[in-house]
Chain length 205, copies 2
């Protein structure tokens, strides 16, 4: 498990392929078929790159997946900012769910959520990869909880608000939408679910 090369070297033969584009294709392959159930052979076909080139550019399969997952989730600071800037916690969650509904039903991407499906299960050999995915999910959960707590402190939400229950319900809906999307639910159905699930929120207006 050698360290992959993230920034280009000054000397030596240059990469013959677009590293970012190849990573994007790898992400889509993992998104479609999962971590363990996407083979190196699948990846070489999807990325248009030979196996040794994958290993020199990304390390090994595990590191490639982790990098693809980081690319999928994006920067957590962006999500954090969106939650802080939203007028209310409820509206922030609503936007997150609607973004998810769109993401899970995109025409150019696999259905559902990479974070919810690609490493949801697997062998013991891949336990660390599942843990990494769980860690990403936990980061999102923390961002949601903190925004809800903020609304409680500022009086936008009642003092007896069950912050973790509210956040976990939003997470459950979002993760559940991933499975429904894989089962064929269309975008409007997912958005309707998101809206319906928010009707139970305490409202400050």
């Amino acid at each position: 498990m050698k360290a992959p090369r993230t920034q280009p070297r000054k000397t030596g033969r240059p990469l013959s392929f677009d590293r970012e584009a190849a990573l994007e294709k790898a992400m889509l392959a993992f998104w479609e078929s999962g971590y363990e159930t996407t083979s190196i052979s699948d990846l070489t076909a999807a990325m248009g790159v030979t196996a040794p080139s994958i290993y020199t550019a990304f390390g090994d399969k595990k590191q490639l997946f982790l990098e693809a997952m980081r690319r999928y989730v994006g920067d957590a600071a962006d999500l954090k900012k969106a939650f802080v800037l939203a007028p209310t916690a409820k509206e922030a969650v609503a936007r997150m769910m609607e973004d998810a509904a769109r993401l899970y039903t995109g025409d150019a991407t696999p259905r559902g959520c990479l974070l919810a499906s690609a490493a949801a299960t697997g062998s013991k050999d891949a336990a660390d990869v599942r843990d990494a995915a769980a860690r990403e999910r936990r980061v999102i959960r923390t961002i949601i909880i903190e925004r809800i707590e903020s609304d409680v402190e500022s009086g936008l939400l009642p003092p007896d608000t069950k912050t973790s229950v509210l956040a976990d319900t939003a997470l459950a809906i979002t993760h559940g939408m991933s499975i429904l999307a894989r089962d064929g639910a269309d975008r409007n159905a997912l958005i309707a679910i998101a809206q319906a699930s928010l009707s139970g929120w305490p409202d400050h207006s």
Copy 2:
């Protein structure tokens, strides 16, 4: 892919192991690690049965999983009956969710839902197994929708009730609870989510 033997033969050497007990162990193994990511070697270890015996008793890996899945979901008629006998659709869904919360956090079983995780993703070779799991999920969905429609027709729910949205929201919550259970959420947290998600339901009382 020979046909497995479901009922014992009158003649020939008898099975040296308990077929039902072995199937139970196989179910637990698939539940824990997923369909494709549970190897025959894993299954022989879990079931205490050699590979050739698995093949003579169950057919092949695919048939073994399908049989294990049928054992996991149980008889759809039982779920149907529970939904019909419940006083309201809302109460039926509440009980389903609380049963799920208990099932997903059992001490003697893996966390989460076999139906939601074991065949949620995978290679193209296993597409038919995922379809079979999706079919089981669809059966549950139909049962929920039919009970909601029944309440609308009998006046227990308002005529403009969005039956499919209500059902899909319940399914999303239940499936989402599976992922949260895998991430370590405890039983009370899941039950709280179930109850919170039902607060948005139109109530007839």
